[in-house]
């Protein structure tokens, strides 16, 4: 479109432009620095989390009770079907505690992962019109899920206290719980970044995530004991390895170690049950995989985020 003299003229202007103001004083609008931006915008993050938490149950009579009703219902159904009908309650001591500590972990993961996946499309009016670090939406989705997870932990704690948890609790129990939460949050955040970014262009991401979330309850030892998987796959030990490497499995086992194991020691000994002996190593692996998930999520998100505004 431009002829020779035009180009040279433009070149001359360009060098003159920085005569009075150095080039370094200029920014390129919309250049994202990923998670660093989230730290810089932490005040907005705080407000987004507060908005997410306070508006969740606006205009509902039961309000926060819903945070208890859903897991309670899930628990009742699973307990009745798996614990009573299928008699798993006979094989696993304190089956209700075993079940509930797994369920709340899965619930936290489902909510964090699901919210993060929907977070970009759900904030379409903002993403289309204002530039702000888009990862804020994913981060705040995970934090909001964490806030809703806390009352369920409280409920579990009350039950455990009644069963004499406080007498047999160790520092390891607390650490195991925290490690489990961190692993779940990391995987949910990383995978949420990935699917949230893909969801902008291909809305197929949402049903895929729903499918994954449906599977996740069954792909980790929430309802059954991990040794049942080992015994079933005894001919194909690598399948068990694969099963155990799943960070969600590890997080659920860590929750069991934190809540169920301390209150069920005598029963465990009687039945000869044991949580995985190498849970420490598995935890380390789970951390590495979670970290890799975040890295992949970051990579994909940052590659795609430049096109969010025009694809939404």
């Amino acid at each position: 479109m431009s002829s020779e003299p035009d180009l040279s003229a433009r070149g001359r202007v360009a060098s003159d432009l920085f005569a009075n103001v150095p080039r370094s004083a200029f920014d390129t609008p919309g250049r994202s620095r990923g998670l660093l931006d989230v730290i810089r915008w932490r005040y907005l993050l705080k407000l987004l989390v507060r908005t997410g938490v306070t508006t969740r149950y606006r205009n509902s009579v039961l309000g926060w009770t819903w945070s208890y009703v859903r897991p309670a219902m899930q628990f009742l159904v699973f307990w009745l079907v798996m614990g009573v009908f299928m008699r798993l309650g006979h094989d696993i001591p304190n089956y209700p505690v075993y079940l509930f500590s797994g369920i709340i972990g899965i619930n936290f993961f489902s909510e964090a992962f699901g919210n993060a996946t929907r977070s970009i499309v759900g904030n379409a009016p903002l993403v289309r019109k204002v530039y702000l670090p888009r990862q804020l939406f994913s981060v705040s989705a995970v934090i909001v899920a964490l806030v809703h997870f806390l009352p369920q932990v409280g409920l579990l704690l009350v039950v455990c206290l009644f069963m004499g948890w406080i007498g047999s609790i160790t520092v390891w129990s607390v650490l195991a719980f925290l490690a489990g939460v961190v692993i779940l949050a990391m995987v949910a955040f990383g995978a949420g970044l990935f699917f949230g970014a893909v969801n902008v262009r291909f809305r197929d991401a949402e049903p895929i995530v729903e499918l994954l979330l449906m599977l996740v309850t069954w792909a980790s030892p929430v309802l059954y004991f991990w040794t049942m998987v080992r015994d079933a796959f005894s001919a194909l030990p690598w399948l068990t390895e694969l099963y155990l490497i799943n960070p969600i499995t590890v997080a659920v086992e860590l929750f069991h170690l934190a809540f169920w194991e301390p209150v069920s020691r005598t029963g465990i000994a009687d039945l000869g049950l044991q949580l995985h002996p190498d849970l420490g190593w598995l935890t380390l692996w789970a951390f590495l995989i979670s970290l890799a998930t975040i890295l992949i999520g970051q990579l994909v998100f940052r590659r795609l985020e430049g096109r969010f505004a025009q694809d939404l």
């Binding site: 433009r10 202007v13 609008p29 907005l44 407000l47 009016p125 019109k129 702000l132």
Partner: protein
């Protein structure tokens, strides 16, 4: 306005910028297959900006003129960082904020007060700055005791007034204004125009997209005319308005 005096200090540099949109003609699998069989193109490209150059100096307030679809809004979106150019460079200096996004971040379930804080934060302000300007924002919006009501109960006029008031009180160096001046009733519109004039006089760099001739003449001393993604005129506002009307 301050172009004539002082050394050249650009606030905005746009150089040879291109922005191309892909238009999909096939919206379903069936469409895709049918056009593939008939060897029709599945998509075509649209050059919204086609090698656009522009320099805006600090304190300038310029009007961006052009008919619908000429690329004005795309230009502002590139400047605010919402979109990325496909070619060329966009550079800005200082804090850029737009009156493009009035009300975009409002949450209907939150009160006016909470929304002021949320939106000011979305536009890049820190807590202390917002607290310092909070009273000004509410006073400018003239919504009085409704500030503690949920925003969903506001009339559309009240809503726009509050949103505009937040946007106009953001600390900024470059202000992008895109067709938002039709906010509220006549007295409030006059007040907004006055406030914009005040900001321009205070040395805020301003880029205004508007179809209202009077407003543009009032605010801007320089005008650029964009046609088919290129700047076809850059000069005094009166001449720019004349150029705009030429076919």
């Amino acid at each position: 306005m301050s172009t004539a005096t002082g050394p050249l200090a650009p606030s905005v540099i746009v150089q040879d910028v291109r922005k191309t949109f892909l238009l999909n003609h096939a919206h379903s699998l069936k469409d895709t297959v049918v056009s593939w069989i008939r060897r029709r193109k599945l998509s075509s490209t649209f050059h919204a900006l086609n090698g656009l150059d522009l320099v805006v100096n600090e304190g300038d307030s310029i009007a961006v003129l052009g008919y619908n679809g000429s690329g004005k809004s795309t230009l502002l979106k590139l400047l605010s960082g919402v979109m990325q150019p496909d070619g060329g460079h966009v550079l800005t200096r200082g804090r850029v904020a737009g009156l493009i996004e009035v009300g975009a971040g409002f949450h209907p379930e939150l009160s006016g007060r909470e929304n002021v804080f949320l939106n000011a934060a979305i536009l890049g302000m820190q807590q202390k700055e917002i607290e310092a300007r909070y009273d000004d924002i509410v006073a400018f919006a003239e919504i009085g005791q409704f500030i503690d009501q949920e925003v969903k109960h506001y009339s559309s006029g009240m809503f726009m007034r509050l949103a505009f008031s937040v946007a106009i009180h953001v600390n900024l160096d470059v202000l992008l204004v895109d067709e938002v001046l039709a906010v509220g009733d006549a007295p409030f519109r006059a007040k907004c125009a006055l406030k914009l004039k005040e900001l321009a006089d205070a040395g805020i760099t301003m880029m205004v997209v508007s179809h209202s001739k009077n407003q543009v003449k009032d605010l801007c001393s320089r005008g650029i005319v964009i046609r088919k993604g290129k700047v076809i005129f850059d000069g005094p506002i009166d001449e720019a308005l004349e150029v705009l009307e030429q076919p």
